[in-house]
Every structure is written in C-alpha cells, then in structure tokens.
Symmetry: C2
Subunit: 273 residues, 2 copies
C-alpha cells in the first residue's frame, strides 16, 4: 500500500488506529483452545470485529516465533486474513548486514519465497544504512525504523547526545539519505508528548508509528497535538487494551467497542485535517 | 553451555572457530536440490565435515525465515543436528520491549515452546536494558549483544561520540549492569584490529563473537593480537569462505579443508594461552 492509499484510508475511515496482534496463547479466552489453531481463530475474530475502525494491523512476530512451526503457521494464516484495505505491519525489529537484511526483506515481502507479503517491517537502525536499504528496494513496501521507543530501556542509548543531536535525532536525519516519506516511517514512543516536537523538526512529513498508547501509558490527545501533520502522519497502535478487553466469550465485541472508542477520539482529529 | 565448558572445548579442539550456516538455497550445490530438504542436507554434511575443527555453529536465521514454513523446518532440523559439544548461536539480531523479548527468548531457548534451545541469541542493543534482560533469565544461556559490527553501515551510528564515549563503548559499559561475562558476549567486527584495543579496555574478560574474517575481509592474526585474552575470549566466525568453498560434489570436503586450515592457524594462538 502506498502513501496516497494509506492517507485515503485514514480519511475514509476517520481513523489512524493500528490494532496490534500481540496474540499470546496463554492470554486468549480458554474456550478457543479447542480450535485447531486457537491463535488464528482469535485473530480472525478480532480482525472481523475491528476492521471497520482500524486502518492498520501490526503483527508482533515474537509471539508467533515463540511457538515454533505452529506459531509460524498462525502468522501466515493471520497475514492472509488481513483485510486488503488495511496497512499491514510485520513488527519484527529486524536488521543485519546487507545480504542478510535482503533475506529478512524476502521473509516479509516476497510471497513466493515465504508465503507472506506485508506492507511494512519494523527495522532496528543500529547497524546503519546497509541494514535498512534492502527493505526499500521493494516498490510500495516500507521500512519502519526504530527512532524513539516507549520502553524504559529507551533511555539507555536513544537520548545520548553527540554534536548537539541525540541518537534518535541522528537516526531521523541519516535515514533521509536512505529513502523518503514514501517508503520510510519511524517508531516513536508515545509516553512523552514533547519529544514529538523534536521529531517533527527533523521529519515533518513522514508517518510515525506510535506504540504505547493504552497499556504503555501514552495519551492520544498529546500525541495528536504534537505529532500530527497535515496529512495525519500518524498510525497509533493499541494492542493489549483492545485485544484483551475481555477474556470471556464476548472478547470480540469488547475489542470492537474498544476500537470504536479509540476511532471516535481519532475522528475529531481527522475532521480537522 | 556455560563459560567453563566453552573454554574447555576451545582448549581441547585447539580452535575457536565458529562455522556460520548462512545457507542460501540458491547457492548450495545443484545436485542437493533433489533432496527432500536440500538446506538441511547441505547443513548436515557441512556439520559432519567441520565439527572436528569448530567449537561453535552460528545459524543465520534470516536465511531460513526467508523460506517461510519450509525454512523454519530446516532451521529446527539443523538445530537438532548440531553437535552437543559445540556452542550454538541463533544469529537472529532480536530485541524489543520486555514482554516481547521474553517471547523471542522463548523462541530460541525454550524447547517445549518452540522446538529449539540454542545456547545463545544475538541481540540488538538499541532499545536498551529491558530488551536484553529477558534473554539473561535462562540459566547457562547467553545474549550476544551487537557492539561494533563489520559492515559499512556500522559507521552511521556506532562511532557517534557522547561524553567521550563512542556509542559502541556505551553499549559495552551499560551491559555490565545487565549481566556478566558468564551470560553476555559481544559482536565485534573484525575489519579494524585497533578497535579491539578499545573494546578490551571496557570488557577485558568477555567473549567476543567476531564475524567478518574471510569474506568480509578481516585478518585472523590482527584479531588475535588485539582481541584475545587469557581464556581465549574469542569466537571467530567464518561463513561463506567455508560453506561455499566448493560448489561441486566435493563441497563438504572443501569445507572440511577450509575449516581445518583456519583451525591450524588458531592452534598456534590457543597453545600460547
């Protein structure tokens, strides 16, 4: 999905919600465990219940990889089931030397090779240009580069200052040499609204993927006030707060209600674009 | 495998060679493509041919993931076939917020969950403490943290200087708060021998995993001169130069000869420990 199509979806659905499928087999409702593939069945019902309110789905690959072959099967089936009008994210935090990143790009973008073709992959920047560029060779595919994350450990290195720039600022600047707002987004944690001002100084036009609203403690209003640009420029992710809204047989209805509540908050902001 | 056992293996085999199984189905000898699982068959013969000369095997997971379910099957079979007296590395460059890194740790360490239990996983440090610590909760398992990599893109961020420390030095220092020489190693690229002096100033006792000798252009002598400590402290990886030494039916013999040649170079250094 290209940038124009994504912005079109946001305007149409009046939403920039990304639903995070961090599906933990130990947390899904017990009655689903009788299904042949409980994780896929859970995801399917969550997707059906939320697709009207969401413009993107983010699959956290770790939760699938932890279950070996069975998990990988659930991952592929879930990718296949994602609505084609939604932007798909493999949240895999990959990155390695060039010839290895090419293989990771194949894993998530090349359906003939791997059985999957996401719109985007999250990528760690530590290894620099050649670890990211292989993901940018695929037309209408995206690398979503970690800039400023929302976890406690983000303070360890991301704020280190060098020549007047913090590390996450250097990441934002450098990536301009690698790609454009048409194929690069950034992960920006939502816990500190003021950081968005710094981010937008460097990348006024790029889309930002914002985790950390909900379970991780960020505020949607603050994110929008400081992070939104004139074409929205935000995908705000919510995982646990939506998918685990209820642990009973009404889990899908509860997820729908949760997603709708977020979408309604977002609608105010999209109307002003 | 714990540190003492690893050092014991190094002394016994007079080798600190790690063979990298970056197995690309498009590069293996054509006659193997008739096998049910050509990648596993290739790896099996490479392992049989090199196990006498190697103390470790590093599986580059990207090459397996790129082939979806089939690749994941080859990965698990290869892990199962690794000799138990060799140190096993899942070269996966993972790292995410705490609850997600826990899932990655399960993927590579918890055999009940994923079907695999490597001795170690390579980990990207960008997200800080909570992205690494979940890997350290498993007894006798290791996190191998990216410090200074051997690729061109390593110059983008790893040498950025903050308060007199380059980023890779901050990574070395911080990690002391997370674990010890018993459960942390570092990836250190081999293309600049002088960098080892800086590395050893910060982590005199830790093991270093050194890629980049061979195809990536590093010199073994330089690595040993500057990087070795009194308990060896090095695992030197060679992938393409060994596994693709011949593209004919003699590929395994050629790999054995390649591994033996490196082992013989290493023997001089191990004798002096």
């Amino acid at each position: 999905m290209n940038r124009k199509e994504l912005i079109g979806q946001i305007r149409e659905k009046k939403s920039f919600l990304c639903v995070g499928l961090d599906t933990d087999i130990q947390k899904i409702p017990a009655f689903l465990l009788n299904e042949e593939d409980p994780v896929f069945e859970f995801n399917k019902q969550i997707i059906d219940a939320t697709r009207e309110f969401a413009v993107a789905y983010k699959i956290n690959t770790a939760f699938y990889e932890s279950r070996g072959i069975e998990g990988w099967k659930s991952l592929i089936k879930t990718w296949e089931y994602l609505p084609k009008d939604c932007f798909s994210i493999a949240d895999a935090k990959r990155g390695d030397i060039g010839n290895t990143s090419e293989m990771y790009a194949k894993a998530f973008f090349n359906i003939e090779s791997s059985g999957m073709s996401f719109d985007s992959v999250t990528v760690a920047p530590y290894m620099g240009a050649d670890s990211v560029k292989p993901f940018l060779k695929f037309p209408e595919k995206w690398a979503i580069i970690l800039a400023l994350t929302s976890n406690e450990g983000s303070k360890d290195f991301q704020y280190l200052s060098s020549d007047g720039n913090m590390l996450f600022e250097s990441v934002l600047q450098k990536s301009g040499e690698w790609g454009s707002k048409e194929n690069i987004m950034f992960v920006v944690g939502a816990t500190r609204g003021e950081d968005f001002l710094t981010i937008r100084k460097h990348v006024p036009d790029h889309f930002l993927l914002v985790p950390g609203v909900g379970a991780q403690g960020g505020s949607l209003d603050e994110v929008c006030r400081y992070g939104m640009n004139k074409e929205c420029g935000l995908l705000v992710n919510s995982s646990r707060a939506i998918i685990y809204a209820s642990s009973g047989t009404d889990f899908a209805e509860a997820a729908a209600a949760g997603a709708q509540a977020v979408q309604q908050e977002m609608e105010k902001w999209v109307r002003e674009l």
